[in-house]
């Protein structure tokens, strides 16, 4: 809504239209349209978060029950039960209940008995079978399930006794993300320093777009490449046992992160005022010393922001990790496999019964992921914004 420069003293009319304004309704509409689009983007982000959080809410409140063995009422007792009791026992909404005749209710009660009879014998005396496995205790703390020698963190959401411990997924996500960052950040920042400070203009014109082109490779292609080529190559190189592991996934993830970190870091390094460089060179320092000791420290907040934004990119990446490694082990060893949150959501959502506990926990994971990327992106943006204002001397 900035007035045109030649009219900067003219009073603002209604919504920017005023007399003397060279009747540009089209521009006005275009501007308002873009404004509306921008607003709707914010609305969409909010809506997505509200949707994800709403689906996850019953789990947070402990409203789902996954106990394998649930109390059974004999179907013959149907007539003795009050309608409210029947609705609760059969988990019916009032609307569903109203639309059912006695026969249907009876069949549903039979099915409840069948469900109880479906429980394999070896689980009937298992103390965990009567337990609701969606308790925060079981979701974040180790528990000694039957058949295990010691308390463990287990993610096994499908089976008789469903185990929803989130720790293996959190560790898996962080492990892969950190490996990716350890690989990508030094390379990307090094490349940024080279391109912005040391390279001849001719070289820069080739190197910069090439690195940025990396971000144009679809992640499924990177994943495919990692699965078939890199996994074998790295195994031969390092000689570890598991062919598909967090290390391969991390390196492949690095390819997705490098362009993000590179562009932002390069941008930050370039925005360090020329006066710094010129002063350093005039005092007799070499190009390398200038880059390393003057420009890089000055741009450090920008490089930090680049890393944080790279983290946000890496933690949300799905396809590469999904294709390369997916075992939910609890281990910080880089040569073990890992299962990330994104992988879990992508691989399991299709099969989760909608509205069921597994489905809700996947949404909970989605909300966690959303919060993590949101916070990291916000920190990154905040830091880079402050850095830019400082560099431009607009404090």
């Amino acid at each position: 809504m900035q007035p045109a420069p030649n009219q900067s003293n003219a009073p603002h009319g209604w919504l920017g239209i005023h007399r003397g304004h060279k009747a540009r309704p089209l521009e006005w509409f275009a501007e308002k349209f873009i404004f509306a689009v921008a607003l709707s983007t914010i609305a969409v982000v909010l809506l997505i978060f509200v949707f994800v959080a709403r689906e996850a809410f019953p789990v947070v409140l402990g409203k789902s029950n996954t106990a394998l063995i649930q109390p059974v009422i004999p179907p013959a007792d149907l007539d003795k039960l009050s309608p409210a009791k029947i609705q609760e026992y059969l988990a019916l909404t009032p609307k569903q209940f109203a639309g059912m005749d006695r026969e249907t209710l009876r069949t549903l009660m039979d099915v409840k008995v069948e469900a109880a009879n479906e429980v394999p014998v070896q689980f009937r005396d298992d103390p965990d079978a009567k337990r609701n496995t969606i308790e925060w205790n079981l979701m974040v703390k180790p528990h000694q399930w039957r058949g295990y020698d010691k308390p463990e963190y287990i993610w096994q959401p499908v089976g008789e006794i469903k185990k929803f411990n989130l720790i293996p997924l959190v560790i898996g996500t962080l492990k892969v993300t950190l490996i990716g960052l350890f690989f990508a950040v030094p390379l990307a920042v090094g490349a940024a320093i080279y391109v912005s400070q040391l390279a001849r203009p001719r070289v820069r014109e080739i190197v910069k777009p090439t690195i940025e082109m990396l971000s144009g490779i679809p992640s499924v292609v990177v994943g495919f490449f990692a699965l078939l080529v890199m996994a074998t190559f790295l195994q031969n190189l390092c000689g570890y046992q598991t062919r598909l592991n967090a290390f391969v996934a991390g390196i492949a993830l690095g390819f997705a992160v490098i362009p993000v970190v590179f562009s932002i870091a390069e941008d930050a390094l370039t925005s360090v005022p020329q006066a710094y460089t010129q002063a350093a060179l005039a005092l007799g320092s070499s190009r390398w010393q200038t880059a390393w000791q003057i420009v890089l420290p000055a741009a450090l907040p920008g490089v930090f922001a680049a890393t944080v934004l790279g983290f946000g990119r890496a933690i949300g990446e799905t396809m590469i990790v999904l294709m390369v490694c997916s075992a939910s082990v609890v281990s910080w060893n880089v040569f073990d496999s890992a299962r990330s949150i994104t992988t879990t959501i992508a691989a399991e959502m299709a099969e989760a019964v909608s509205g069921g506990p597994h489905y809700r926990i996947l949404f909970l994971l989605g909300a966690l992921l959303f919060a993590a990327t949101f916070i990291s992106n916000m920190i990154g943006d905040f830091v880079i914004h402050r850095f830019k204002t400082k560099m431009e001397g607009k404090r």
Binding site: L90, L92, Q96, G99, M100, D101, T104, T107, L108, V111, K112, E114, A115, E118, P120, Q122, F123, W145, G147, E152, I154, W155, Q156, P157, V158, G159, E160, K163, P168, T232, Q241, T242, R243, L244, L322, M323, C325, S326, A327, S328, V329, V330, D336, S337, R339, A347, E348, A350, E351, A352, V353, S354
Partner: protein
């Protein structure tokens, strides 16, 4: 009178052609077979359109319950909870049809010296109790386990019947499909995986012994159909009984006829023995 009959016939044909849209959804194991059935059937019956999609057995049941699909392919029996959901949606139990047999093979690398395992040994390997090949008569090397994603019906079947409900080892790598497991096992000489007996190039199918004393059986058609091979299952189609008439009923009957069962064999699964066709 003759005219009227012609008009009626034309009307019947028109409505037949109009109503001849059948949607099929569900198990990824069944998707190739279902597509082949649809292709052959559509070739013989002009005016009928059959759309087949996969997504997993659970997805199929969800669609059956939301009434967004006519037929649900399933690589396992419906669970009580799924039946309850269907009753809530359309007040009736879904009708179950057995449509084919499938043997599950245990794959190892073609370089592996191993030839046979018992069902119990396979279970112990996949739960992580047996960690080294030498414990089952192989070389002294750690075992790498390849499993399916937990959305797969094959995964659930294997967990229920071979692992006796125990958890897969946490270190089991989950792969997106049987072909991916085969690809991984063929590249990993210490790997072991499982999947349909119909798949197979690139890896060795182990012979399986039901108990220590029983003979080792190869997962061939004869052995599976005769019930000698211990790891096998039915493949099912579920349908809302209200829809099980007209075109859909005809299609289901055709699937279970000799002609439909011949397609099963062409795709690589095993046809139902006559006495199981109901």
């Amino acid at each position: 009178m003759k005219k009227l009959a012609i008009i009626l016939a034309a009307a019947a044909f028109a409505t037949g052609a109009f109503a001849g849209n059948i949607t099929v959804k569900g198990s990824d194991t069944l998707v190739i077979l279902a597509q082949k059935w649809a292709e052959v059937y559509m070739g013989q019956h002009a005016g009928i359109k059959i759309q087949v999609t996969g997504g997993g057995t659970g997805t199929g049941f969800a669609a059956l319950q939301n009434q967004t699909t006519d037929l649900c392919n399933a690589s396992r029996k419906a669970k009580a909870a799924e039946i309850a959901n269907c009753i809530k949606a359309f007040n009736k139990r879904p009708t179950e049809y057995k449509v084919a047999l499938d043997g599950l093979s245990v794959y190892v690398s073609a370089d592996s010296p191993l030839k046979e395992l018992t069902v119990a040994q396979v279970g112990d390997i996949f739960t992580g109790k047996i960690k080294n090949w030498k414990e089952v008569g192989g070389a002294d090397a750690p075992i790498t386990i390849y499993s399916r994603e937990n959305s797969s019906g094959t995964y659930e079947f294997f967990k229920e019947h071979v692992l006796q409900g125990k958890d897969f080892a946490a270190s089991a790598q989950t792969m997106p499909g049987t072909a991916a497991i085969l690809q991984a096992v063929s590249k990993d000489k210490n790997g072991i995986g499982y999947g349909g007996a119909a798949y197979g190039a690139g890896a060795k199918h182990l012979a399986i012994k039901k108990t220590d004393s029983s003979p080792a059986v190869e997962p061939t058609e004869n052995n599976v159909v005769a019930g000698k091979y211990p790891i096998w299952r039915h493949l099912f189609i579920y349908v809302n009984p209200a829809l099980d008439k007209g075109e859909i009923a005809a299609y289901l009957n055709w699937i279970r006829s000799d002609e439909g069962q011949k397609v099963v064999k062409d795709v690589g699964y095993f046809p139902l023995p006559k006495n199981l066709r109901e």
